[in-house]
C-alpha cells in the first residue's frame, strides 16, 4: 500500500463518540470533528472527505443535481483484479459509478458545475479511467452549454493503470476539455486535496484559472517511492506538499477547508460580476 494511502486513511474510532486524529493522535469528539469538516482543531490536519461530504460543505443546500452516473467502466484490457475493484466500487453505499462525482449546483447562489473526486471509490485511489474522463468531459460540456463555471476538487493517484493506454489518454481528453472552457472564458477553478498526484496534476488539475490547495495535501507528479528512488540530491522538508507547490509558484493559495467555499465565491464574484 502506498505511503500516502496510509497517511490519508480515515481516523480510527476508539469509541463511536470519539475519533483519533491521524495527524497528532488527539482524541476528538466525533460531533465536533464532523462540524469542523474533519479538520483537527489541535494540529490542523485535514482528514479525507468523501465527495458527498465535499458537496455538502460547498454547495448551497439541496442545490446539487448529479449527472453522469449512468455510464460505467468496461475493463478494456481484462486487467488482473480490475473487475473485482469495479464490482466493489459499484457496491459501495454511495451508489456511484466512479470516483469522480459530477453535477450541477449553486455556490452562494451562483450556478456552477462540480466535478469532485472521491479517493475511496473502489479502492481505486481516485484514478482517472475512461469513466472519469467522460464524466469530466460531460461536466465541461454542460458548463459550456449553460455558461456555468466548472469547479473541480482533485484527489487522485493519477492515471488508472488498469485501463492501460486508454487511461493515459484521459489526460489529453480532460486537458482538451479545459482548453474549451478557456477559449470561451468560462471560469475553471481547481482545488487540490490530498493526494493530488501523477496524471491528474499533469493534466486538468494544473490548469485552473485559479488553483487552491488544502494544507498539507500531497501535490506532485511522481509517487513517493519513485520520488525517493530518483533523488540524487537533498529533498526539501516540505517536498511534494501544497506548501511546496505554493513556494514554487504552482498554485495560488493554500486554503483552510473552512474557508474554501468563501474563496471560491469571491473568485466567482471577480470573474463573473458585470463589467462596469
Amino acid at each position: 500500500m502506498p505511503d500516502w494511502f496510509k497517511r490519508s486513511k480515515s481516523p480510527e474510532v476508539p469509541e463511536g463518540a470519539f475519533v483519533k486524529c491521524t495527524g497528532c493522535n488527539a482524541i476528538l469528539v466525533t460531533k465536533d470533528f464532523e462540524r469542523d469538516n474533519k479538520v483537527c482543531p489541535r494540529c490542523g490536519h485535514h482528514h479525507p472527505l468523501s465527495a458527498d461530504e465535499r458537496i455538502a460543505m460547498l454547495a448551497d443546500e439541496d442545490s446539487f443535481e448529479e449527472f453522469g452516473n449512468d455510464i460505467s467502466a468496461t475493463d478494456p484490457l481484462a486487467f488482473p483484479g480490475y473487475a473485482q475493484k469495479l464490482t466493489t466500487g459499484h457496491a459501495d453505499e454511495s451508489g456511484r459509478n466512479d470516483g469522480l462525482v459530477t453535477g450541477r449546483a449553486s455556490i452562494s447562489s451562483r450556478p456552477v458545475v462540480l466535478a469532485i473526486s472521491d479517493f475511496q471509490w473502489g479502492r481505486l485511489a481516485g484514478t482517472m479511467g475512461s469513466v472519469f474522463g467522460e464524466k469530466f468531459a460531460i461536466a465541461t460540456d454542460i458548463a459550456l452549454e449553460e455558461n456555468r463555471p466548472l469547479i473541480t476538487f482533485c484527489a487522485s493517484g493519477g492515471a488508472r493503470m488498469q485501463e492501460g493506454l486508454v487511461s493515459l489518454m484521459q489526460m489529453a481528453k480532460t486537458s482538451h476539455a479545459v482548453a474549451k472552457l478557456r477559449a470561451t472564458n468560462i471560469p475553471y477553478i481547481v482545488v487540490l486535496t490530498h493526494p493530488s498526484t501523477g496524471g491528474a496534476v499533469a493534466s486538468y488539475a494544473s490548469l485552473g484559472d485559479v488553483i487552491f490547495a488544502e494544507p498539507g495535501a500531497t501535490v506532485a507528479l511522481s509517487g513517493e517511492r519513485v520520488a525517493a528512488q530518483a533523488q540524487t540530491q537533498k529533498v526539501p522538508a516540505n517536498y511534494r506538499t501544497a506548501e511546496f507547490a505554493l513556494e514554487h509558484g504552482m498554485i495560488d493559495r493554500v486554503v483552510h477547508r473552512r474557508d474554501i467555499q468563501s474563496y471560491i465565491a469571491r473568485t466567482l464574484l471577480f470573474m463573473q460580476s458585470p463589467s462596469k
Binding site: 467502466a73 492501460g164 486508454v166 489526460m171 481528453k173 511522481s222
Partner: protein
C-alpha cells in the same frame, strides 16, 4: 528459442553468424564441400529462425527493442530524412533541455517544425540528454516551437522516445506537472496540423506531453504505456522484475494501441528491428508521415481543430449502463 528475449536471440544470432563464417572460411580455404553445404544450410535456417522469432514477438520483446541500445533516435531520423534541419534552443525562461531537440526541418519538400525526444548514444551524451527524461523547460521549449509553427502555418512533427518525464526534485520545483498539462491543453487546440510518431519508448505522461496530435503513429516495435512495465509490476505483483508480465497485462505494443483505436497506423520496421536498417525505417516513416500530412494539409484550420476535438472527446472505453457491475457482486 521460445523463451529467449529479443536481446538473447540477437546474442544467439551473433554466435550463429560466427559459426557460419567459420564454416565458410574452412570451405573456401580447404575446398570443403560439406562445410560449404552446412554453411548454406545454417544460413537458410537462420533466416527461418528470424522469420519465426519476429512473427511472435512478445510485448516485452517490443519493450526491449524500443529500448535497444542501437535503436535509432530522433537525430538519426533527422539525418536520414531531412534536407535541412536548423535546431533551435531554449524555453526563453530557464534553460535548454537536451532531452528534446527541435527546429526548422525540410522533409520531402515541405517545411515543418520537427520536435523529438532524444536519448544519448555514449555515456556523456546520455547524461547531457538526461537519458531522454524531459524536464519542464523541455516541454516549454517544445511548446514555444509549436506555437511558432502555428504562427507560420507549418505542420508539427514530433518523435516520441522517452522513459518518462524527469521525476527529480528540481523538475518538481519548476513545475513538471504544469509544463506537461499546459502542452496537453495547447496541443489540443493548436491551429496547425500535428503528427506524433512513437519511435521508441512511449513513457506515460512524459510521452503524451508531445503526442496530442491529429495523427498518432507508432513504429512497429515501439511501445506506449501509461506507466513503465517495471513500475506496474512493482504495484501489481510487488516485484519490479516482472515487467514482462506487466507489459502483457497493460497491452503496451503498437498492435495493441491500434486495436484499442488509440493510434492511426503502424509504421513497419525492417525484419529484426529499426536498428538493423535505419535507411529503410526512415523511408517507411517518411512515406506514412507524408501521407498523413498531405491529408491534413487539405483541411481548413476549422476542420482540423474540429476533427481533433472530436477525436479527443471520443477517447475512452465505457458503457452506458452501470448494471453489469452492480449485479456482479
Amino acid at each position: 528459442m521460445e523463451d529467449m528475449t529479443i536481446i538473447e536471440f540477437e546474442t544467439f544470432l551473433v554466435e550463429l553468424d560466427k559459426n557460419i563464417a567459420k564454416l565458410k572460411s574452412v570451405a573456401s580455404r580447404e575446398g570443403d564441400t560439406a562445410a560449404s553445404n552446412e554453411a548454406k544450410q545454417l544460413t537458410k535456417e537462420r533466416a527461418q529462425l528470424v522469420e519465426k522469432f519476429f512473427r511472435k514477438l512478445t510485448a516485452w520483446d517490443k519493450v526491449l527493442l524500443a529500448r535497444h541500445k542501437d535503436r535509432p533516435y530522433t537525430l538519426d531520423y533527422v539525418a536520414a530524412l531531412c534536407d535541412d534541419f536548423l535546431e533551435l534552443h531554449g524555453d526563453r525562461a530557464f534553460g535548454d533541455d537536451g532531452a528534446v531537440v527541435g527546429g526548422f526541418a525540410r522533409m520531402s519538400g515541405r517545411s515543418l517544425m520537427l520536435i523529438g525526444q532524444q536519448k544519448g548514444r555514449d555515456l556523456k551524451e546520455r547524461q547531457r540528454r538526461n537519458f531522454g527524461y524531459m524536464k519542464p523547460e523541455g516541454y516549454r521549449k517544445a511548446l514555444r516551437l509549436m506555437e511558432m509553427a502555428e504562427r507560420f502555418s507549418r505542420p508539427v512533427l514530433t518523435f516520441i522516445d522517452t522513459p518518462g518525464a524527469d521525476p527529480n526534485v528540481p523538475s518538481e520545483q519548476r513545475g513538471i506537472s504544469e509544463a506537461i498539462a499546459r502542452n496537453l491543453r495547447e496541443m489540443s487546440v493548436l491551429k496547425t496540423p500535428t503528427v506524433a510518431v512513437v519511435v521508441g519508448e512511449g513513457g506515460s505522461g512524459g510521452a503524451l506531453g508531445l503526442a496530442v496530435a491529429d495523427r498518432v503513429l507508432m513504429l512497429e516495435h515501439s511501445f506506449y504505456s501509461v506507466i513503465a512495465p517495471e513500475g506496474c509490476a512493482s504495484i501489481l505483483y510487488r516485484d519490479a522484475t516482472r515487467g514482462a508480465d506487466a507489459a502483457k497485462a497493460m497491452r503496451v505494443t503498437a498492435q495493441d494501441a491500434l486495436e484499442l483505436g488509440l493510434i492511426d497506423e503502424i509504421i513497419p520496421e525492417p525484419l529484426g528491428g529499426a536498428h538493423l536498417d535505419i535507411a529503410t525505417t526512415a523511408e517507411n516513416l517518411e512515406k506514412v508521415v507524408t501521407k498523413h500530412l498531405d491529408v491534413l494539409a487539405g483541411l481548413s484550420v476549422d476542420d482540423l481543430i474540429d476533427q481533433r476535438a472530436k477525436r479527443l472527446r471520443a477517447l475512452g472505453k465505457f458503457e452506458n449502463s452501470v448494471e453489469r457491475w452492480r449485479t456482479a457482486g
